[in-house]
């Protein structure tokens, strides 16, 4: 914690700042959950939290360990069935922001959470899509949160669980995929966007202490860097206070 905050904390605050008040957010566990709850307690009091489990407008008293935690129901605005959440909310276009993570992400923002190696003879069998494939296609804005490690940033993913920009350029439009494609990747080193023409990943902002060399080293292809390259604003004292005092898991940080 050389800068007075952890890498998790800067990932959470960076993700939280990408949310706009009043948005309807499909929340996962871990860092996205922290980010949404931080935003709700600071700049975005009117965020609506929706979980693919069917909890609508959740007001968790404790940090949920899973997206089906009972604290997401007690005091929620509503509960709906999973056929409804996927059809009437997500597919209907009412989810403004979806968060995703994965084991691998590639140059064009395609995500793999299915398998390392060959599907039929897996080296590592990962959990699979869950709701990720449909979130990548049907949420209005897709934000990705991942740790920046070389093995997680290959040039091509082994398996496209959740499509990003496919082979880049206008391939996503050509193949008539719904949705706009991923907007940003928030890592422990910085923030990456996607170039508007080639759709390849571009380093846009470095977190305090991180260097371009370090990011390149953890990336499996020659990474484009925006010019000017921004510096991520560090967490404010108030953000850190909320994170540390209000958003800790029972028995430890998230």
């Amino acid at each position: 914690m050389k800068d007075g905050f952890t890498t998790n904390e800067i990932m959470v605050t960076t993700a939280a700042r990408m949310l706009r008040d009043g948005e309807v957010v499909f929340v996962g566990i871990g860092i996205p959950n922290m980010a949404v709850n931080l935003a709700r307690r600071t700049r975005c009091p009117n965020l609506v939290l929706i979980y693919e489990s069917g909890a609508i407008g959740a007001r968790p008293e404790r940090l949920p360990v899973s997206i089906g935690d009972p604290t997401l129901v007690t005091g929620a605005l509503g509960v709906c069935s999973m056929p409804e959440v996927f059809q009437y909310y997500l597919q209907r276009g009412f989810i403004d922001v979806g968060f995703l993570g994965a084991a691998q992400i590639d140059r064009f923002g395609n995500l793999n959470s299915t398998v390392i190696g060959d599907y039929a003879r897996p080296k590592v069998r990962l959990p699979g899509s869950g709701g990720a494939c449909e979130i990548a296609l049907l949420a209005r804005r897709v934000l990705i949160v991942m740790n920046h490690k070389h093995r997680a940033f290959p040039e091509r993913v082994d398996f496209i669980t959740s499509p990003g920009y496919l082979g880049g350029g206008d391939e996503r439009e050509q193949q008539r995929l719904p949705g706009a494609g991923p907007e940003a990747v928030i890592t422990d080193l910085g923030v990456l966007g996607f170039s508007s023409d080639t759709r390849e990943m571009v380093l846009e902002s470095l977190h305090p202490g991180a260097t371009v060399e370090q990011v390149q080293q953890e990336t499996g292809w020659k990474l484009r860097v925006a010019s000017p390259l921004k510096r991520t604003e560090p967490p404010t004292a108030e953000e850190l206070r909320v994170l540390r005092e209000e958003l800790t898991l029972p028995g430890g940080a998230a």
Binding site: S53, V79, T114, G130, L166, L177
Partner: protein, 301 residues
């Protein structure tokens, strides 16, 4: 007409070797007591269906009940992988396990199509994903209005649904609150339905709040009363999720020997959920729900 049975009777009469069995519950209401009884009865060659196989199927796979799993997310939420599932898929141990894989949305629609007696349902997911490439059951259908190609999934019609719920009457009229997941679709899609509840209540209590009813009794073949029957998952209004156990499972299941020891002690080593509950009295007390009652509404006219 009472459909009350013991868990032993219900699993013995309604689940057969080789059946396709859906045991839903998204984090909430996972039918662990029923799964343990199937392990004790050494049911074999089952095709197991759940969006999230969870610890339940990890245990059933390790115990040798499963031939195949149909699923969409196989992990221990917030903790790590499912070790028995991975062993079986990556190395075919203890026996090879066939998998059939969708996204959550795809699984939900397979059950919804089954419940609606339709051969398929269309969706806007899957476009650009490799999932249809590895699962040929995910196909395309052309919209007769717009001409666009949509992806679609085939109906799933399991032999049996095992549904955990808060309460039912003796006739099987079943009520659920909190997360309802895909419970209703799983039950309507299936040929036979076993309901496991925390408590059997009077018919009158059910009739006083008909909007909470998930399933009517005529859709249910057996009702089993099994308090604490969803542990280590949870039941809203009854007990919390045993998050500590989910973390401990990672250790227990990392080596087959640990997993076997667990099954020996907590599945084969007990006569049923009652003994399990008694041996876990302190946990049961720790997890017991506090009272957060809703306000009653008026059904008069």
């Amino acid at each position: 007409m009472s459909k009350r049975m013991t868990m032993t009777e219900a699993m013995g009469r309604l689940v057969r070797d080789g059946d396709t069995v859906v045991m839903e519950g998204f984090t909430h209401l996972i039918p662990f007591a029923a799964g343990h009884e199937l392990i004790r009865q050494r049911r074999k060659n089952l095709t197991l269906v759940r969006l999230t196989p969870d610890l339940l199927f990890d245990q059933m796979i390790a115990a040798g009940c499963a031939r195949k799993v149909i699923f969409s997310w196989a992990g221990n939420p917030g903790v790590g992988p499912l070790h028995a599932f991975r062993q079986a898929v990556e190395r075919g141990l203890p026996t090879p396990l066939e998998i059939e894989e969708y996204s959550h949305f795809g699984m939900v629609l397979r059950l919804q199509a089954g419940a609606a007696n339709l051969p398929f349902l269309p969706t806007r997911t899957f476009a650009g994903s490799d999932l249809p490439r590895v699962n040929p059951r995910i196909k395309q259908v052309r919209c007769p209005y717009s001409g666009e190609e949509l992806w679609c999934v085939p109906a799933l019609r399991p032999d049996v649904a095992i549904v955990h719920a808060q309460r039912a009457d003796e006739d099987g009229n079943t009520q659920v609150w909190g997360l309802v997941g895909v419970h209703k679709e799983a039950a309507f899609a299936s040929e036979r339905v076993v309901v496991v509840v925390e408590e059997i209540v009077s018919r009158e209590l059910i009739r006083r709040d008909p909007n909470r009813t998930l399933l009517p009794g005529f859709r249910v073949d057996a009702v089993v009363e099994e308090p604490f029957g969803a542990h280590p998952s949870y039941v809203q209004g009854y007990y919390d999720r045993d998050n500590e156990f989910y973390v401990r499972w990672d250790e227990i299941s990392r080596e087959p020997t640990g997993l076997d020891r667990y099954l020996e002690e907590w599945v084969y080593g007990v006569s049923g959920r009652q003994e399990y509950r008694e041996r876990m009295r302190a946990t049961y007390e720790r997890l017991r729900a506090r009272a957060v009652p809703c306000e009653p509404v008026n059904y008069g006219y």
